[in-house]
């Protein structure tokens, strides 16, 4: 039996899915966490459960909504397990009415009962809807048994208002396409282009722009009238979200931006400073573990391979597990509390200048964890141009894998913690710069006019947070044990063996030194023209963690870079250059190969330019401070002059435009 889990966004569908199937799919207190269908068997049964992305209606607007619509209508599911939030039943049941109109067997799960703002009579609700209703909450025991029982009793009742729907020619065409005639009739009345196309309906039946209150709203009026009658006496005594209102008054007030920066600074400070001692302890343990292997009574190449290539390489990445864990945990707590959604509101005005909405902030912040996941999360953005732009620039935000690289190299050269913060800032600035440039080439499609729902504040569930952090840590460890270990070991072998001489002990005649050595002159102006640094950059395309793993196995940061300035230049390059393979694949999936290729090229060119400017300026400052000041003052002066000239030109153009239109009016 196949069952679809469906409902509005942020009602706890994936949390329920995880409980029923014992999975660890990502969850969060915001909209658009699930962007694709996840299917898994309910433990101990033959029921396959599919978690569909959240949507408000079966009239789809974005890519993820189309996935849900197609899943419900044509996915061939036997039952729809409809999840509704107890405090928002009226709006949630609206989608359920459409599922029932489509004659799908359904079960209603009323979730978050522990947060109910009044009494809810579930038995009465079940009697009125004529489908099984199960109440649950995250803190209650696993509802598996009651859900399975309800699935066996699932029903597809005929809704009373469907008698009012005229379905003649539509009925015949709908029956041919295996769609409920009443549902098709209502959707046509709403001018749903998708259903109109399927039924080859007249184009005149499609939308009329700017109309206010014509009969295209009749279907929704029928549904809401039915829902209001159904809920009469079911829900009583509604209190307001008093706590949410109070917190919103503070965090969305005049001090909204300082509060946001304060919170983000605290997140970074706690991540780096708290985890430092544990990280250095792990580093020492790795060295201790590698020492006996290096000195063991084995062939020299095997000692080196196991000690440096395997234990040293993977261990160098594992040493930064405390930082990565803390960053995961703190961002998860912020997401779960509902604050991250507010960031979208706080940053909306800012992102508007770059042709995006505050919704883009979700994806950029998710990019702090994993760029590939963040790219997939852009599906929730309805406008194609905005979606593609957000996906293209999201990998500029340094992911958790790069955090290990930053921390390891800055710690080796004793660079201050602010260097890491500056690298994160550089990533965000590069993303915004790229957005601005993209806007110059192609204008936006106009504002995304959609309402963006804000979840109420919730006390983060520690159990869920730890589960999510554990899942992320496990996935990090698996990456270290598979991709990082594999690529690191392969790179060590290629860097220490030559086709002609066999084991070379890392000398200049190895396979990798010949190949990477040919590319090294390109990176000389950036300060790291060493073949080992180039080898690390090549391996970083597989997974960013391997950067530090390879550097560590090929002699360490000190030997590879030689100076702190060269290391800082390498950090800038690794912060911005081409994203990992997983992210490029996600980009290609979401935006097409053309955008993915443009993104990879743009990242590398930006990285090269930023590193070149930094390294050459730093060298100049060392050699001739006076010349350095003169050059940079001239650059800043020229930039300010260009900005002022551009502003004056725009003001004149606007005035000219206004004058022309006034003259035209006068002539008329």
């Amino acid at each position: 039996m196949r069952v679809a889990l469906c409902g509005n966004p942020n009602v706890g569908k994936t949390t329920l899915f995880n409980r029923l199937t014992r999975s660890s799919a990502p969850v969060g207190n915001w909209h658009g966490v699930t962007v694709d269908v996840i299917e898994k068997r309910i433990t101990g049964t033959d029921v396959i459960l599919a978690d569909l992305p959240g949507c408000y209606s079966l009239t789809a607007r974005s890519k993820e909504e189309r996935i849900t619509r197609d899943g419900v209508l044509f996915g061939g599911y036997d039952v729809v397990l409809f999840v509704a939030e107890v405090n928002n039943l009226r709006r949630n049941l609206y989608l359920l009415t459409q599922v029932l109109e489509a004659r799908k067997k359904a079960v209603l799960i009323v979730n978050m009962l522990d947060e109910a703002r009044g009494k809810v009579d579930l038995e009465l609700l079940s009697t009125r809807l004529k489908i099984p209703v199960v109440g649950t909450s995250e803190r209650a025991k696993n509802p598996k048994e009651s859900v399975l029982e309800a699935i066996s009793k699932a029903n597809a009742p005929s809704l009373p208002y469907l008698n009012e729907v005229a379905a003649d020619a539509v009925a015949r065409r709908a029956a041919e396409k295996n769609i409920s005639p009443e549902f098709a009739a209502l959707k046509l009345e709403e001018r749903d282009a998708f259903i109109a196309d399927i039924l080859q309906s007249e184009s005149s039946q499609r939308g009329c722009y700017g109309c206010r209150g014509c009969d295209r709203d009749r279907p929704s009026a029928l549904r809401y009238s039915y829902i209001d009658k159904t809920l009469d006496g079911v829900v009583s005594c509604r209190r307001r979200y008093a706590l949410t209102d109070k917190i919103d008054k503070i965090v969305l007030g005049k001090a909204a931006l300082p509060i946001f920066f304060l919170i983000m600074t605290a997140v970074f400070f706690v991540t780096f400073e708290t985890a430092k001692p544990l990280s250095s302890l792990l580093g020492r343990l790795v060295s201790l573990a590698a020492e006996p292997v290096k000195n063991a009574d084995m062939p020299e190449w095997l000692c080196g391979f196991l000690g440096d290539g395997v234990i040293g390489g993977a261990g160098a990445v594992l040493a930064f597990l405390p930082q990565v864990t803390l960053l995961f945990m703190l961002t998860m707590l912020l997401q779960d509390s509902g604050y991250m959604s507010r960031v979208a509101f706080v940053s909306d005005g800012f992102f508007k200048k770059f042709g995006l909405s505050g919704r883009a902030a979700f994806s950029l912040i998710l990019g702090l964890g994993c760029s590939a996941t963040a790219v997939l999360s852009t599906r929730g953005i309805a406008q194609k141009t905005a979606r593609c732009r957000t996906a293209v620039v999201t990998p500029f935000v340094p992911c958790s894998a790069r955090l290990g690289v930053f921390t390891a190299i800055t710690a080796y050269f004793g660079l201050p913690a602010i260097t890491v913060a500056a690298l994160y800032a550089l990533g965000f600035v590069a993303a915004l710069g790229a957005l601005k440039i993209m806007r110059l080439f192609r204008a936006s499609e106009g504002e995304d006019a959609l309402l963006m729902e804000m979840p109420p504040y919730r006390v983060p569930s520690l159990k869920r947070t730890f589960k999510a952090v554990f899942a992320n840590v496990c996935s990090f460890a698996v990456r270290v044990g598979s991709v990082v270990l594999g690529v690191g070991a392969a790179m060590w072998l290629l860097s220490n063996f030559s086709v002609r001489y066999g084991f070379t002990g890392g000398s200049g005649s190895s396979i990798m030194s010949t190949f990477a050595g040919a590319l090294a002159p390109i990176f000389k102006p950036l300060g790291f023209g060493d073949w080992r640094a180039v080898t690390a950059l090549i391996s970083g395309v597989a997974a960013k963690e391997t950067l530090i793993s390879v550097i560590s196995s090929l002699g360490g940061a000190g030997e590879v870079f030689g100076s702190a300035i060269a290391a800082a230049s390498f950090l800038i390059f690794s912060c911005l250059y081409v994203p990992c393979v997983a992210t490029i694949a996600a980009l290609a999936k979401e935006t097409g190969w053309r955008y993915a290729a443009v993104s990879a090229a743009a990242h590398t060119v930006t990285a090269y330019a930023a590193s070149l400017i930094f390294y050459q300026s730093a060298r100049l400052a060392q050699i001739d401070m006076k010349l350095f000041v003169v050059i940079w003052s001239s650059v800043v002066f020229a930039a300010v002059a260009a900005a002022v000239a551009h502003k004056i030109y725009r003001v004149k153009k606007r005035k000219g435009g206004a004058h022309d239109s006034a003259a035209r009016k006068e002539r008329k």
């Binding site: 607007r61 709006r91 209150g213």
Partner: protein
């Protein structure tokens, strides 16, 4: 009076305009006839409580929503 120019904090939504897709979404969300409360205004958007849920509403959209005093 549209929601963007509305100077009071509370009111009732009378009708919504917008393009077909957005109109459909707003109607599906149950906005017609809903009471609202403007929690915060920021730049080109406002955070509005529509009774059962709060949502960020950009000014471009707010201009298409006709409201009246409660």
């Amino acid at each position: 009076m549209n929601l963007s120019d509305y100077s009071l904090k509370r009111g009732v939504i009378v009708s919504v305009g917008c393009d077909d897709d957005t109109h459909r979404r707003l109607v599906d969300m149950g906005l017609i006839g809903a009471d609202f409360y403007i929690k915060s205004r920021r730049g080109g958007a406002a955070l509005i409580d529509y009774g059962d849920f709060s949502a960020v509403t950009r000014n471009a959209l707010a201009r298409e929503i006709t409201v009246r005093e409660r």
